[in-house]
Structure formats: structure tokens, C-alpha cells
């Protein structure tokens, strides 16, 4: 249906206006102007910030440059999270554009992983896809694909090519006709308040009586505190890709259409904005 195709396109081409500012303690030869960029929600920070790096390296001396890293309001940004997830989790309620501080020194070893090259991002991306397919199809579909198909997925993401990516990804979204969905739904629920980085559990999209499970069913089962506020607590927002889907949305449909390119449903639970 054209609606579903539109949803896929809107998800893929989602952008976040970002303003990159150099950390004031960095040593510069002259003043560095902030660099604005429309970041793709579905990509990864280190994949799309080459221009940023070049822009700021122009004003710095060569010997001061080590690995680039980003932070927002004091929180170092993990490059292996998709950009959209980082924004929804940390800055959803703040004013646009998203102000990210660029650092070249003092890489926080405890908080962030190193990203030596594009190959590291590729390896991380492909391993997420394989993990998702293991949950969905017991890895049958991903293992049937050839190496060039895996490469095509990565190239599609890297070059922002919607058709190239989905030509292969649609095979990962199919399920056998006798079932009504995937085996398990690949999802991760992120909440800033908990000490765990995320919640990931086995969850079937179709209940024992054949009913399709909804987003509400998933949250009630896996993270009940998100939906039912505790005593004195405020209500929480359930955000995916910057929108709040209705809790009656079927989980199978969400997994097919609102997953990130790594085939996972990254769900953010954030407190309701108080304004």
C-alpha cells in the first residue's frame, strides 16, 4: 500500500538540523564558525560528519588533532547509536537546531568506543542486522543472502540510497505465509533514568490465541513502568523516530516499517515535557 511505502520513505529521509560548535577550550588559530548540518536520523555520527571534521580541522593545528568526539550538554554521544535515537533520547524537548559540541582532545575512554575507520561502523551495522535476523527468522534469511547483498545494504546506508537499501532489506521483512509475523521482534527500549543501557527481551508478535500484539502489550509486559506511571511519577512518552505511535499499533507492523536500517526497533522512553 502506498501509505506503507510513504512511511518507509519518511522514516529513511528524516533529518535533524544540527549545529556543530567547537569546544571553546580547543586551541584554534582563528575563530571557528559553527557548522550547520542536516543529519540523517537513520545513520551514525561518524559516518556523516566528515565535512564537520574538515571544517574544524582548517582552524586547528595539525598536532592538536586526535580522534574527534561529540557531546551534548555534557553527555558524550555514542557513535554506535543511530543519530535519531540519540536525539530522541537526549534532546527531543529542546529547541532546534540540535547543538552538539565537537571535541578533538581528551577522548572519554570510559564512555565511548573508538571508531578507527568506516569499516568499524560497517562491522557494527552488519552485526546488528544479523542479530535482528536471528530473532526474526533464526538467521535463515540473512545466511541465504550473498556477500554482495550484505555489501549493498551497507552501501545503501552509506550513500543514502533508499531504493538500493530496501531492494535487499525487504527480504528481511518477509515472513512465511503460515505464520502471521516474525518469530521474535527485535527491539531495544532505552530509558535515561535506568542504569541499564537498554532493555531487550524475547517477545512474540503473535499471541497464543492468534491475536497480533500491540505496542502497548509489549510495554506492559517488558517495561511496565513506562506505561503505568508509578506513584507520584509523571507520565512518559514512548518515542520512535521522533513520533509517538498509538499504543494500539500492531508490533509486527512497527517492526516492518518503523525499524532503523539495522532492523531494530529503537524505542525511547522519555519524561513528558512540562511546558
Amino acid at each position: 500500500m502506498t501509505d506503507d511505502k510513504d512511511v518507509l520513505r519518511d522514516v529513511w529521509f528524516g533529518r535533524i538540523p544540527t549545529c556543530f560548535t567547537l569546544y571553546q577550550d580547543e586551541i584554534t588559530e582563528r575563530e571557528a564558525e559553527p557548522y550547520y548540518l542536516l543529519l540523517p536520523r537513520v545513520s551514525y555520527l561518524t559516518l556523516v560528519t566528515d565535512k564537520v571534521k574538515k571544517h574544524f580541522q582548517k582552524v586547528m593545528r595539525q598536532e592538536d588533532i586526535s580522534e574527534i568526539w561529540f557531546e551534548y550538554e555534557g553527555t558524550p554521544l555514542k557513535w554506535h547509536y543511530p543519530i535519531g535515537l540519540l536525539f530522541d533520547l537526549l534532546a527531543a524537548s529542546s529547541a532546534l537546531p540540535w547543538n552538539i559540541i565537537v571535541h578533538f582532545k581528551s577522548f572519554p575512554e570510559k564512555d565511548l568506543l573508538h571508531c578507527p575507520s568506516k569499516d568499524a561502523i560497517e562491522a557494527h551495522f552488519m552485526s546488528c542486522i544479523k542479530e535482528a535476523d536471528a530473532l526474526k527468522h533464526k538467521s535463515q534469511v540473512i545466511n541465504e543472502m550473498q556477500k554482495k547483498d550484505h555489501k549493498q545494504l551497507w552501501m545503501g546506508l552509506q550513500n543514502d540510497r533508499f531504493d538500493q537499501f530496501w531492494a535487499i532489506n525487504r527480504k528481511l521483512m518477509e515472513y512465511p505465509a503460515e505464520e502471521n509475523g516474525f518469530r521474535y521482534i527485535p527491539f531495544r527500549i532505552y530509558q535515561m533514568t535506568t542504569e541499564r543501557p537498554f532493555i531487550q527481551k524475547l517477545f512474540r508478535p503473535v499471541a497464543a490465541d492468534g491475536q497480533l500484539q500491540t505496542l502497548g502489550d509489549l510495554l506492559r509486559e517488558v517495561c511496565p513502568s513506562a506505561v503505568a506511571p508509578e506513584d507520584g511519577g509523571k507520565k512518559n512518552q514512548v518515542m520512535i523516530h521522533g513520533i509517538e505511535p498509538m499504543l494500539e499499533t500492531p508490533l509486527q507492523w512497527l517492526s516492518e516499517h518503523l525499524s532503523y536500517p539495522d532492523n531494530f526497533l529503537h524505542i525511547s522512553i522519555i519524561p513528558q515535557p512540562t511546558d
Binding site: M1, D6, V7, K58, M173, T249, P250, E256
Partner: protein, 564 residues
């Protein structure tokens, strides 16, 4: 996609969440993307331009800083010279020229860039133009092709029209020719019918001529014979042996009798029905065979007598004798086969000649319905029995009643022998009358009303059928009842049910009220056979032909059946 299946399963309310998601995505894009989409690239573009200007300005600053040490050098070298001012002016000039050169080179570079751009644009435009021209050429070629095709089609249409016209002309010709042929055929057919008529007439004429010739020959023969007789008669015969002279014996003209009817030696027992017809419009009351066993007369309550020919096992209608005044009760044919006598309800008996449809004579005089009329064995005489308790003898030549016998009861049937008349009556008696004397010679009582009488061919046995469902065979020589026939299921259907002997007097046959024919063996008295089949109503009369090969039965259901 698999998702669409899920949607169709859930139904209309499910679209709510999808619409919500679509709306939310669009709103997100509006607030987050759309606002900044043009702004960010424009900002970056300005940034680039600023950097470019910065680099240019840097370069320009470097140039003068390079240029200034040289003039310093020049002035130091040529300090002693008096024209140090002249030396500085070429340096400043050089500086200016270098600046100009720089500027010009920049402009040049820009121009070159523009030239390159423009030439690229031009080449693309030329490519487009060529492409369009190619397409145009192709379309023109196609147009030419189509026009050719059209011309060809038009030509074909013309050809077809011409062919059509030719075909129509040919068709017209054929039609005219068939009309002519049909007219010729009709003419030939008329001629043929004329010819046929002529032929028939010729044949008829030939037949009459042959008849005439035969007659002439006969007459000649007869004349010859009479001549010879006369000659022989003329010869006197001596009767001198006789002593007394006898008187002439007086004798009248001998009564003309019918020629002897062929006697049947053995009759065949009929077994199966050969033909069944609806003979009359109403009940069929009487049936009688002619002497030659192929002519049959049936009379019915519809006042008609039908003559039939027995041809090849089938009954063919020959003639219908009309003019009876009432229902026919009995039919008799004379031994010559040329006359038919019928007794009617109309208190009269009527005489027909075979071949004439209307009756020749009417014998009237009875005062009630005539139940039986039979030819006597002498020519031109008949006997009728009637319910007015009389039996009348008639002279047919003059159509008058020659004798009336008063019997004491209704007469149901009458048969004639050589000199006896036998009548069967309602008062359960059979009376015998001598045709020479007036009174009743004999009376034989039977158990019930007599419905019919039949005389055997040798005139020695009489078969009577009576209402107590019995048939009696009476030996006329000793006048006693020889046999009584009964059978299970045999019942007389009416007061005029007829039973007959077979021609060789071996069998007696009668029809029953249920449509079956019962045949008894006269000598043994046993029921020989029962014939069922064609009749659904009571059988009124039965007749056995003189050759013994066929038997006919008629019933109240208008049917006549031919048995073999």
C-alpha cells in the same frame, strides 16, 4: 508486503494508528526538517564563499609583502645612483601591474570558467536538439508508412467493392435462370399430367373394348350353343317305347338360384389380430363377409355401411353406403356379392347395389325396428324379422312384401335355409317356418332370450346364442340340442350378440361383453381358445369368411378387428 495482510485482517479501525503515524511523521518533518532544509545549505554556501574570500585576501596580502623586499633591495643597490626616485617608480609600477595582472588573471579565470560552463550547456542543448530531430525524423517516417498503409487499404476496399458488384450481377443472373427453369419445370409437369390422363383414358378405352370383345365372344358362343341346342331340339326323338303318351309335364320356370358358393373344407383357427381400425362413428352392430372372402361389410349405429377389402392382411376402405334411415342392426350380402341388404331401426330394410352409394330399394312395412334381414337362396327374395312380432318375406324385384308371418314374440334374428325360415325370439323359443306353408312347423325352447342364430353351411346344424351366456348347437335332422357351450368369462353383451359357425362347421365363435372372442370346438364341446386384445368393449358381431382364412369382429367401441 506482509503488513497489508495484517491490515486487512484488522479492518477499518486499524487504519487509525497508521494515519496517526503518517500524520506524526509529516509533522515531525515539518518542524525539524523543512524549516532548516534550505537554511543549512545556504549557510554552508556562504561559509564557503567567506573562506574563499579569506584565502584570496590572504594571497593578495602575500603578494605586496613579496613585492616590497625587492624594491628595498633595488634602492639599497642603487643608493649611489642619483635617480633612486626613478628606480622606485618602476617598482611601484611593477607592483601596480602585478596587481592588475592578478585581477585580470582572476577575471580571466572566471571567464574561462563561465566559458566552460556555457560550452557544456551548449553541448547538452545540441544533444537535445539532435535527439529531437531524430525523433521528428522517425515520426515522419512513421507518418509516411501509415499513409502508405492507408492507401493500400483504400485500394483493397475498392477491389472488394468491384468484386461485390460482380458477385451481385452473377447472383441476379442465377436467379433469373432459376425462375426460367422453374417455369419450364411447371410446364413439363402439366404436360406430364396431360399425357398421364391421355394414357389412362386410352387404357380405359382399351379395357372397355376388350370387355366388349369378350361379351361379343360370349354372345357368339351362347348363340352358337343355342343354335346347336335348337338344332338338337329340332331332331325328333322317337319314344315309341312308351305305351302311353304322357302329357307334357308342366313345369314352371325353375327358380333361379345362386351359383354354388365354394365350400370350405377346413377353416383355420384365427390366432392373432392382423388389423384393428376405428370403423364407424358409433357402435358397430353387424358385419358380413362377401362370397369371395375379400369383401366385407360393416354396419353401425351411425347409419352407415362401410365396405372393406381385405388386402394383404389389412382392411382397406372400399365404399360407404349411405342413406339408411336409422341405425343398422344387421347386414347381409347376397351370394353374388353385388347386393347388400341391411335392417335398420327405421322400421325398414334397405337394399344397396355394391358400387352405388345410395340405396336402391326400401322395404318398408314393419311397425317397429327391423332386427334382421337376410337374402334367401333363391334370387330376389329376402326375409326380415322385426320387433313388431312379424317375419316378412319380400320380393326384391318388385319390392313388396310377399308374405307376413305373425310370430308371437319379438324376433331377434332370422336365418333362411332352402325351404325353412328359422327365427329366434325374446320368449326363449326358436321357431321353424316352412316357406311353403303358413304355420309354424316346429318350436324349440331354449333357456333364455335368443340373441342370434347361425346356420351351418350344410344347413344341418343351427347355432343359437342366448342371453344366459350359452351357445347351443341344434341338429336339424333330429331337432335336438347337441351341444351347449359355456365358458368362464363369456357373457352376452347385448340382446343382439352374434355367434357364428366356422365355414367347415368345426368351430363356433362368439364375442363376449369384455371384448374377448371365445372359440369352441363343435365336436368335442370344449373351449378351444380365447382371443383377447383389440377389443375394449363388448363384441357385437363376428363373421368368418367363406374360405376360412380370416375372421372379423366388431364391437361397441367402434372398432373392427381382422383376425388371421
Amino acid at each position: 508486503m506482509a503488513g497489508s495482510e495484517g491490515l486487512s485482517v484488522l479492518g477499518a479501525p486499524a487504519i487509525l494508528w497508521k494515519l496517526h503515524i503518517v500524520r506524526q511523521l509529516r509533522q515531525r518533518d515539518r518542524t525539524q526538517k523543512a524549516l532548516f532544509q534550505e537554511l543549512v545549505p545556504a549557510y554552508n554556501h556562504l561559509l564557503e564563499k567567506a573562506e574563499l574570500l579569506a584565502t584570496f585576501s590572504e594571497k593578495l596580502q602575500l603578494e605586496p609583502s613579496e613585492a616590497t623586499p625587492a624594491p628595498h633591495k633595488g634602492s639599497w643597490e642603487e643608493e649611489s645612483r642619483p635617480d633612486s626616485a626613478g628606480v622606485s617608480s618602476p617598482a611601484t609600477l611593477k607592483e601596480k601591474w602585478q596587481e592588475e595582472e592578478e585581477g585580470l588573471r582572476l577575471v580571466c579565470g572566471e571567464m574561462a570558467y563561465q566559458v566552460v560552463e556555457k560550452s557544456a550547456a551548449l553541448s547538452t542543448q545540441q544533444l537535445q536538439l539532435e535527439e529531437r530531430q531524430d525523433r521528428l525524423a522517425a515520426l515522419e517516417a512513421r507518418v509516411v508508412q501509415l499513409q502508405e498503409a492507408r492507401a493500400q487499404q483504400a485500394r483493397q476496399v475498392e477491389e472488394q467493392r468491384v468484386k461485390n458488384v460482380a458477385q451481385r450481377a452473377a447472383y441476379e443472373d442465377l436467379r433469373v435462370r432459376t425462375g426460367d427453369q422453374e417455369a419450364a419445370l411447371r410446364r413439363l409437369q402439366e404436360e406430364a399430367s396431360y399425357v398421364l390422363e391421355g394414357l389412362v383414358q386410352l387404357k380405359a378405352r382399351a379395357a372397355t373394348e376388350r370387355n366388349l370383345r369378350l361379351e361379343r365372344r360370349e354372345r357368339a358362343n351362347q348363340a352358337r350353343v343355342s343354335q346347336e341346342l335348337k338344332k338338337a331340339a329340332k331332331r325328333t326323338v322317337s319314344i315309341s317305347d312308351f305305351k302311353k303318351r304322357r302329357g307334357h309335364s308342366i313345369g314352371g320356370v325353375p327358380e333361379q338360384r345362386y351359383q354354388s358358393i365354394p365350400v370350405c373344407v377346413a377353416a383355420r383357427l384365427p390366432v392373432q389380430v392382423q388389423d384393428v381400425l376405428d370403423a364407424h362413428l358409433s357402435e358397430v352392430n353387424a358385419v358380413c363377409f362377401g362370397p369371395n372372402s375379400s369383401l366385407l361389410a360393416t354396419g353401425g349405429a351411425d347409419r352407415l355401411i362401410h365396405l372393406w377389402n381385405v388386402v394383404g392382411g389389412r382392411l382397406e376402405a372400399n365404399q360407404t353406403l349411405e342413406g339408411a334411415g336409422g341405425s343398422i342392426t344387421s347386414v347381409d350380402m347376397d351370394p353374388s356379392g353385388s347386393q347388400v341388404l341391411a335392417a335398420t331401426y327405421n322400421q325398414a330394410a334397405q337394399l344397396w347395389k355394391v358400387g352405388e352409394a345410395h340405396s336402391k330399394e326400401t322395404l318398408s312395412g314393419h311397425k317397429d325396428k327391423v332386427t334382421a334381414a337376410k337374402f334367401k337362396l333363391t334370387r330376389h327374395q329376402a326375409v326380415t324379422g322385426s320387433r313388431d312380432r312379424t317375419v316378412k318375406e319380400w320380393d326384391l324385384g318388385r319390392a313388396y312384401c310377399s308374405r307376413t308371418i305373425n310370430v308371437l314374440s319379438y324376433c331377434n334374428d332370422v336365418v333362411c335355409g332352402d325351404h325353412i325360415i328359422i327365427s329366434g325370439h325374446n320368449d326363449q323359443k326358436i321357431r321353424f317356418w316352412d316357406s311353403r306353408g303358413p304355420c309354424c312347423t316346429q318350436v324349440i325352447p331354449v333357456q333364455s332370450r335368443v340373441t342370434s342364430l347361425s346356420l351351418s353351411h350344410d344347413q344341418l346344424h343351427l347355432l343359437s346364442c342366448s342371453r344366459d351366456d350359452t351357445l347351443k348347437v341344434i341338429d336339424l335332422r333330429v331337432s335336438n340340442i347337441r351341444q351347449v357351450f359355456r365358458a368362464d368369462g363369456f357373457k352376452c353383451g347385448s340382446d343382439w350378440t352374434k355367434a357364428v359357425f366356422s365355414p367347415d362347421r368345426r368351430y363356433a365363435v362368439a364375442g363376449s361383453w369384455d371384448g374377448a372372442l371365445y372359440i369352441w370346438d363343435v365336436d368335442t364341446g370344449k373351449l378351444e381358445s380365447t382371443l383377447r386384445g383389440p377389443h375394449c368393449a363388448a363384441v357385437n358381431a363376428v363373421a368368418w369368411c367363406y374360405s376360412g382364412s380370416h375372421m372379423v369382429s366388431v364391437d361397441q367401441g367402434r372398432k373392427v378387428a381382422l383376425w388371421h
